[in-house]
Symmetry: C2
Subunit: 214 residues, 2 copies
DNA sequence: CTAACTTTCAATAGATCTATAGAATTTATT
DNA sequence: AATAAATTCTATAGATCTATTGAAAGTTAG
């Protein structure tokens, strides 16, 4: 009768398996991801998201306290898997080339198979106020650090050129992968494994012909 | 007294030098570019753009018939220079490496020196309805074609590896450049020429150490 | 100085869209 | 079956925001 919690959206960081709720909340995140990916954060309406889920606009607020929170959760959702997988790859003891292939594969596979959330993370996260981006930022720099570490190892083992700037290369790899990731999302006909292979090849060998027959 | 053209925005494809008008219209496009780059198309308001120009919200419609038209013009504005410059580079008779350097330089310089419009073109053009994107699309494919042609020449002259997919490489180059372009826009401390050099180097030579001392 | 033209302004209608609140319905529990 | 709890609905206030309109202010030219 007083102010009980009528709104699940308020008590929302527990991992407790309210099974029913948790499952539909996930659907909500995925619906938001799809809609944000298509129309952009500001271009999308809560109505769009609700429609995607087959519920009424107002009902959406049972799952999200605000549209902004929805964006935040979509971004985190899209990015968490991705960083987790990266950690696993880096932990394994593998030759450099294999690691790099695994990294590119992980990155691009994530785009194709799973989430518009990846796209939303890339394109829309800057519309979040800084407070809401803290976790995402942390994940992002974790990811880059891991990647730079892999590159540093590669240099140490003499597989990579010694004069490389790992920071620069890390950003570039992420750039290429994101760019192709977007293409994969946009164009269903694009072959995933072909793309993976070509990206890796470009990153490793560049374009120059090193054995020119004269 | 009937319906005369009170609105310049309606008669707007003439290159005639209404000097005063033309100059301020350019300021309008640049203001829109800045605001769209910061807040995104849907996140920006006509009020924001007007404020950036120091005029009232309603007055903006003297220069643009609609917010959407503003976006279209910003995208075209950002991209035209860019394609024009590309043509010049390709026409010149130069060795492959020089051409590639020039292309990367042109691309990144355009980001740093001139326009948020580049950013808007990249990030926001898909929010335009197809009709409004016709010109932009044409320019885009012109650009890619030119780039692919340069690459094909490189292969022919045996400077580049024969097994390259020019289409793929072209997209990748654009991807890397856009990615670093965004970084250049976001981070003023980033050195332009350093970035250019590193991008070119990566594209040409990749990362692998081709002369490993054992 | 006056008339014609250009540019800006102020005010607003009409159309959103977010978020809230309380009722209605469905689902789970005793 | 009766009660409690969870989920969804309807309706709406309040806050935008775009685009229009006609008047005001500024500029140019005769």
């Amino acid at each position: 009768m007083t102010n009980e919690t009528h709104n699940k959206a308020e008590q929302d960081q527990d991992g407790a398996d309210n099974s029913k709720y948790v499952k539909k909340k996930l659907l909500a995140i995925e619906a938001a991801a799809k809609v944000f990916a298509d129309k952009g954060f500001h271009g999308a309406t809560t109505q769009d998201i609700a429609a995607e889920m087959g519920i009424q606009q107002g009902s959406l607020y049972y799952y999200f306290k605000s549209k902004e929170q929805a964006l935040q959760e979509v971004c985190e959702y899209g990015f968490e898997h991705y960083v987790t997988r990266m950690k696993k790859i880096c932990d394994k003891d593998q030759p450099f080339e294999a690691k790099m292939l695994a990294i590119v594969t992980s990155h691009l596979t994530n785009y194709r198979s799973k989430h518009s959330a990846m796209k939303v993370h890339n394109d829309q996260r800057l519309y979040l106020p800084t407070e809401r981006r803290a976790k995402i930022k942390k994940l992002g720099s974790e990811y880059r650090d891991l990647l730079e570490q892999v590159l540093a190892e590669g240099i140490e083992k003499n597989v990579l050129r010694a004069n490389l700037d790992t920071h620069f290369i890390a950003y570039s790899i992420i750039g290429i992968c994101n760019s192709w990731g977007s293409n994969l999302v946009r164009d269903d006909d694009l072959d995933l494994f072909d793309t993976i292979e070509q990206c890796s090849d470009l990153i490793l060998h560049g374009t120059i012909n090193t054995t020119p027959k004269m």
